[in-house]
């Protein structure tokens, strides 16, 4: 009995939806835009996070050591650093090695080579430190700047990349915030469009609704189909997002990977497919359902 009632309401809702298919299509399109933009926002966020982690992993601290500090002292410093829990690896580049590399790199630049020959070796020996985790660099630097090796150090090259990371994370924050704003605006517009479509459907079904009341249809027999209609808009919009987003990501993921190494966006999408789709579905269904509920409350006197 209950399932029969539900089935009939469902069928009536589907009929409302299908008989107005052009209007339904327009509503779905606007809802699709809202869901699509929210999904893109999520993906952008993932890419942004990828870039940030990639950058943070790339960061290492170069410690330039004063010319006068001896090899022994440097080795001691290196083993002390290795002893720190935060440190993953420390590599030593002596000033001679640095010079060889420098010369290799600038072979084609005679002016530079000449001045190097004249100056002798101006390059400082360096220790390159890699931390286990990007957030641990501050602790390492703190150790160097305030510890016993303070005097041996000429300069620590970290602050520059730090500001780059900060800029980037600021930027991705801004993208996220404007994305949320755009998504909200689109969601409101989509809600209004769905509301109006259902209002029109109610107008179209005026005589049906009147007869329903006349023959003693229960509240939900009259309201249910319109609610189903709204929910269908949301579900179809979520499905449309899925159908359009998947190939789009499939084609663009390699291109994004070229710009941002290690960002397999399609891979992320496939592994989070069900989560993402359920979120889209919930978002769409909630939006459509809420719009029809408002329309029902406002215009459908039972």
């Amino acid at each position: 009995m209950k399932t029969l009632t539900f089935y009939r309401i469902l069928r009536a809702g589907w009929n409302n939806f299908w008989r107005n298919r052009w209007l339904s299509l327009a509503t779905i399109s606007v809802m699709f835009l809202a869901i699509f933009s929210a999904s893109v926002l999520v993906l952008l966020n993932v890419v942004g996070q990828n870039i940030l982690t990639a950058l943070q992993n790339k960061v290492d601290v170069s410690v330039y050591i004063k010319q006068e500090v001896g090899e022994q002292e440097i080795n001691k410093m290196r083993s002390d650093l290795m002893f720190l829990g935060e440190v993953k690896n420390v590599s030593y580049v002596s000033s001679e090695e640095a010079l060889v590399k420098f010369k290799e790199r600038h072979q084609e630049n005679p002016t530079l080579m000449e001045s190097i020959a004249e100056l002798g070796n101006p390059l400082l020996p360096t220790l390159n430190i890699e931390a286990n985790n990007a957030s641990q660099y501050d602790a390492i630097i703190n150790f160097l700047e305030n510890g016993k090796y303070k005097e041996s150090i000429e300069k620590i090259n970290y602050k520059q990349s730090k500001s780059l990371i900060e800029k980037l994370s600021n930027f991705s924050d801004k993208v996220r915030r404007s994305g949320i704003l755009i998504s909200i605006i689109l969601a409101v517009v989509a809600g209004l469009v769905a509301f109006n479509t259902i209002r029109l459907a109610m107008y179209n079904f005026k005589s049906e609704v009147e007869v329903m009341r006349l023959v003693g249809a229960s509240d939900w027999y009259i309201r249910g189909p319109f609610l189903i209609e709204g929910v269908l808009y949301g579900a179809f919009a979520a499905a449309a997002t899925l159908i359009i987003l998947t190939p789009l990501l499939y084609f663009f993921s390699p291109k994004i990977s070229m710009l941002v190494p290690n960002s397999n966006i399609f891979g992320w999408y496939s592994s989070n497919f069900f989560l993402l789709f359920s979120l889209q579905l919930i978002f769409g269904v909630a939006l459509g359902g809420a719009s029809s509920l408002v329309a029902i409350r406002k215009y459908l006197r039972v």
Binding site: L4, R8, V211, M212, R213, L214, V215, G216, A217, S218
Partner: protein, 229 residues
């Protein structure tokens, strides 16, 4: 079964007021056939709407089976309307559904199972004499046939009362008598009938109880009544 106690109904129109019914009191017993006579605008439709709970009285009370209709919550309203079948001058059939579907629709709307629908609809169509028209659409029927479909639909819930609001208003003489005879037959089967009409011929030939309304007032209530203004 139905009782009006000092019922008045006032509509507000463009800031002014219009008295549709003033201080009406009467009782109708189960199984009666009552005609409500009166010219257009005398308050016949308003009276029927009050029984159906579509309108609430401005003052006074309307009782259906000892229950004050204006106090019935919206949720129970659908139950009330299943006990009252309604027939209109303009039939109110759904144009895109066949005769069969129009009646089945009424049963679907109250959650009747398919099996019961398949049994009951042919029966009721047989009763109103339209067994052979069940696959026709309303626009393929004559006015009289449409009204019989609408009566069949009103009967499908086995109501205790049928309210007929000018059911013959759009029909020619022959069809009019068909419908009236059908209503009499339904009444003989035990259903209370309340027939609102301004058709002098019908009322004078029925020799049943007549309530006569004029300008919202009940001016006459007689058994074997005639249409006299």
């Amino acid at each position: 079964m139905i009782e009006f106690k000092n019922v008045s109904k006032t509509y507000e129109i463009n800031g002014g007021t219009c008295d549709a019914l003033s201080d009406i009191s009467f009782k109708i017993k189960a199984g009666e056939f009552v005609s409500i006579a009166g010219p257009s605008g005398s308050g016949k439709s308003t009276l029927l709407k009050l029984i159906l709970g579509k309108e609430k009285p401005t003052s006074g009370q309307v009782f259906f089976k000892n229950e004050d209709v204006s106090l019935i919550p919206t949720k129970k309203m659908s139950k009330l309307r299943q006990l009252i079948g309604m027939v209109f001058q303009d039939f109110k059939l759904l144009p895109k559904r066949t005769v069969y579907e129009n009646i089945a629709f009424a049963m679907e709307m109250v959650g009747k199972p398919n099996k019961e629908i398949e049994e009951d609809v042919p029966q009721v169509l047989d009763l109103v004499g339209l067994a052979d028209k069940s696959a026709s659409f309303p626009n393929q029927l004559s006015g009289g046939e449409k009204q019989r479909v609408s009566i069949a639909r009103a009967l499908i819930h086995r109501p205790e009362v049928i309210l007929a609001d000018e059911p013959t208003g759009n029909l020619d003489l022959l069809n009019t008598w068909d419908i009236v005879r059908l209503l009499l037959k339904i009444n003989e089967l035990g259903t209370t009938i309340i027939l609102a009409t301004h058709d002098r011929e019908i009322i004078n030939n029925l020799s049943k109880r007549v309530l006569t309304l004029n300008k919202g007032r009940l001016i006459r209530d007689e058994e074997n009544g005639r249409y006299i203004l």
